[in-house]
Amino acid sequence: MTFFLQLVVTGFTLGMIYALVAIGFVIILKCSNAFNIAQGHFVLVGGYLGYTFLVVFGLPIWVSLLLSVVTAILLGLVIERLTLRPLVGQPELAIIMMTIALSTVLEGLAILIWGGEYKTYHGVLPTVGMKLGKISIPSESLIGLIVSIASVTIFILFFRYTKIGLAMRATAEDLQVVQSVGIKATTVYAVSWIIACVMGVIAGILLGGVSGVMIPLAEVGLKAFAVVLLGGANSIGGAIVAGIIVGILENISAGYLDPLLPRGGMANVFPFIVMIGVLIFKPHGLFGLARIERI
């Protein structure tokens, strides 16, 4: 039982981080109908940014987080302006291919700047470990939990109560109406990319603290896609709930099934099995809206 609860607790933290990545994805999809395959690479860049600020510059974690967020805002702005803006109104496939190409360029840049080696800043993080009965919560998990819950809360408040947040929700509802009342859709697109980038980078810093940073960290993006599909592609609440579900299930399946399989690796393939299952049986996810199409 202790083993089970331990898996649930660490899975919950992992799930919150997945939820962060998934929110970034969902926000772009809602606002500009673009599927952002490069979301996982924002996570990768985030991990390396965390390493740069924490280890290379030796800054405390909160300052590092702030600086990384500022960098992420700039990155999101540049990416949106240079690559996605020219494709407004192009077919879905062109936009998807653009984000795929973007992901390879980001990966290449990460290798160029940071050498693509394994970096870790495990020792630099403050130790605030906790024990709940027999279950111990490692300090990275605790930090991850605090930061991710704070980020999600700030984001939801922003989305609900600020003017630009309202504009974004309106754009998600109906682009034409939004344009006719004088809201600039391009600003909304830019802000949605900035938010996605910030969310990805924060998740990257947190995951980097847990498992170190390496190029395969970008595969977290693929797991976030499973989260997005399970939650329903246009539901932010769904992304959070599904993130937690996938995080916990992944940890449990890895904990119990890996010993049964000769080569293990269940944690890596599990999200994809979830994905195929969801796609076959419930393509719109738990909370997504079914699309009705007309010719």
């Binding site: 599927f35 496939l93 290449g108 290798i111 010719i295």
Partner: protein, 334 residues
């Protein structure tokens, strides 16, 4: 209408085939290797083109299906002692059937959701290959015999080049013909508007699965050619990123065009060659990791630039050039 309509078309075809036949006389082994790799890529991209370019079903698991074909052939030839020629159709069928299975979600979903399903297909296939290590060798890989014709073993680069070129030319002709059949026209209708196609009486269920089957058979053949070339099967030969590059070849060449698939494969492979030449120079001049990152950045940038400035690909540009010369001296800017 015939594919080769005029005597000049036939002349160009035979001149090109003749050029391929004498290639080994002029080129070094290094160039032949490159051409062999381009040929294998073209076979694979034709499959992806039928599936994605013509039928509009975007697949990012293409390399996974190549791996299915490759491993079926590897197991049949290495473990059971079948000949290459008997194993090849079985491997192609196996890849096609894998495509049918993972193509099933395409009946309900499209666009991004289908991309996710095919990405999942890739990772599940690779995971299965690693799990079934009794037959596949798992992470250690599996040595594969070189193909034989009679008693002639296709060991040399030259002989393998001829083998691959035969498959490349045949697969190009086959692809060209497939899209001219009833099924091919149905694919295009489904790509342009699947609801309208269904209303017109095209069975989405049947034709989408046919597209998956054909595309994955092509992938399977390409996978077989790849492992027998290396005489070794390993999951490292089928990295996920290659599926991205195959889609990139389609973008660069031009989607939904048979010459486009060829242009794209040739262009991106030539870019690779350029990178292998420039990479070490950059590595020495800037930083050691520059060579590794250059390939990713260069290919990504090329795809980005094509998407922004020439979304219809090289095939479109080729059409403009052809029209220019056809209309000359009365040609004008389009």
């Amino acid at each position: 209408m015939a594919i080769f309509r005029t005597r000049r078309d036939w002349g160009i075809l035979f001149a090109f085939l003749g050029f391929l036949a004498v290639c080994p006389l002029f080129f070094s082994d290094r160039v032949l290797t490159m051409l062999t790799m381009i040929g294998i890529s073209i076979v694979s991209v034709h499959g992806l083109n039928i599936l994605t370019g013509y039928c509009g079903q975007i697949s990012m698991g293409h390399v996974g299906f190549m791996a299915v074909g490759a491993y079926v052939s590897a197991i049949l030839t290495a473990k059971l002692g079948w000949s290459f020629w008997a194993a090849l159709p079985c491997a192609a069928m196996a890849a096609g059937i894998a495509g049918l299975i993972f193509g099933l979600p395409s009946l309900k979903i499209k666009g991004f959701y289908l991309i996710m399903a095919t990405i999942a297909a890739h990772f599940i296939i690779v995971w299965l290959i690693l799990q079934l290590y009794h037959v596949t060798g798992g992470p250690d890989g599996l040595p594969v015999p070189k193909p034989k014709i009679g008693s002639l073993v296709l060991k040399s680069k030259t002989s393998y080049f001829y083998l691959v070129m035969v498959f490349t030319v045949l697969s190009t002709l086959l692809a060209k013909n497939i899209i001219r059949t009833r099924a091919g026209r149905a694919f295009v209708a489904i790509r342009d508007n699947d609801l309208a196609a269904e209303v017109m009486g095209i069975s989405l269920w049947s034709y989408k699965l046919q597209a998956f089957f054909i595309g994955c058979v092509y992938a399977g053949v390409a996978g077989v050619l790849l492992v027998h070339y290396y005489a070794f099967a390993s999951v490292d030969q089928f990295p996920f990123i290659d599926s991205v590059w195959y889609l990139g070849m389609l973008i660069v060449g031009g989607m939904g065009s048979i010459p486009g698939a060829i242009f794209g494969a040739v262009a991106l492979k030539l870019l690779d060659e350029l990178v292998t030449i420039v990479g070490p120079i950059l590595s020495a001049a800037v930083a050691a990791q520059a060579a590794a990152s250059l390939a990713l950045i260069a290919r990504g940038l090329v795809i980005i630039l094509f998407l922004i400035f020439e979304p219809r690909g090289l095939a479109h540009r080729w059409g403009i050039i052809k029209a220019y010369f056809r209309l000359w001296p009365f040609s004008h800017e389009e």
